[in-house]
Assembly symmetry: C2
Homo-oligomer: 222 residues x 2
């Protein structure tokens, strides 16, 4: 990991989309400035934490006025690279793949799926939304030619590693893996895993504890 | 938050499903025991971290032998409450809702969607997989009667808060929110937000830095 990366905490990176989403809402309501104190109440975060997070994008608030919402939105977008479009390939056109291809949110993050791949002859050649499903064996050639940098994996678990290997041979640099399995990539490849199991583990354990407390007639102390 | 909860770090809870998944794979391969050292190499984690995480489930390894895989699997399942079935309601039958209803993984986590709800007359009365789509105004009555404890929100952002409010009136205790928006719930309700935007923020920023380093002819130091 390079030095600049180490200096940006991952929790900060993960919170920036939330600030962005919240600020867009404020703009819709006609507001032009916002303070960390106000944001802190609405987002249930400590104002100094918000200030620190936003400073990473290079923007600073003015005393007693706060942040200019428009400037702050642009600053977050620029920092996260959302102000230019990254083209991506997606592999695996099952339920999850289709759901992601149709996901409206990608546009605002500057992500555009330009082609989908599968090995199933029943889906190859079909269109999902605007994009065509191509045979997987075209991936390496096309991604190299089109200089695609992002690959999204929505295959069954058993295929995820071999698809990642193909992507890397196709010069893809960042892999977004939704296949709920650990895949291995070389050090110069960015791997981001998305999985709903960890979230559910947190929910179900907390729920178990809260219900047990209820059954024992105890009040859960928050 | 009660005392027992504070003592279980959330990162530990989030890693347990990964161990579980990995151990199931080992079992499939016919292995009966595993050491933290071996797991550490395979999962790219420090062995003492793994030992600490697994100790929360109440299981300890034997020196030079390691853990019995079968016992460890059962211990994780019991700890996370996956050994009994939680019934859940899901609200919002768009692409994401359909995708989650059909998601095979829920079964292994002990989660079962027993009904779906929507306000769109075009989907009400239809079946998605095994489950029926019901009108949203039946939610409170049904969830109270069926003692449903988990509600899954897959609506558009604009409806998420009002759906959460309905769930709480229907005595649901845990809300799993996929609507990419902050919702507010009372302290005695467990809220777990799932959103792919934070993951993409991490991926796109790391990618931006790695590509910039490449353009500058520098090697990214990992």
């Amino acid at each position: 990991m390079d030095r600049q990366m180490i200096s940006i905490p991952e929790p900060t990176l993960r919170r920036l989309p939330m600030y962005h989403h919240y600020l867009k809402n404020l703009r819709t309501k006609g507001l032009e400035t916002v303070s960390c104190t106000y944001m802190g109440i609405e987002l249930n975060l400590h104002p100094p934490q918000i200030r620190k997070d936003l400073a990473f994008t290079g923007v600073r608030g003015a005393p007693k006025i706060g942040y200019k919402i428009e400037a702050l939105l642009r600053s977050i977008e620029e920092f996260l690279g959302w102000n230019h479009v990254d083209e991506a390939f997606i592999v695996g056109v099952g339920n999850l793949g289709k759901c992601l291809i149709k996901y409206e949110g990608f546009k605002q993050y500057g992500l555009k799926c330009v082609a989908a791949f599968d090995i199933d002859p029943k889906v190859i050649g079909k269109k999902i939304g605007d994009i065509q499903v191509l045979p997987l064996d075209k991936l390496i050639e096309l991604s190299t030619r089109m200089k695609i940098k992002i690959g999204i994996i929505t295959t069954p678990r058993t295929s995820a590693q071999s698809v990642a290997d193909l992507m890397i041979r196709g010069e893809i640099k960042g892999i977004w893996n939704f296949a709920s399995i650990n895949i291995k990539v070389p050090n110069n490849i960015i791997l981001q895993n998305e999985d709903i199991a960890p979230g559910f583990a947190v929910l179900s354990k907390k729920l178990q504890l809260i219900i047990q407390s209820g059954e024992l007639g105890q009040e859960v102390q928050k």
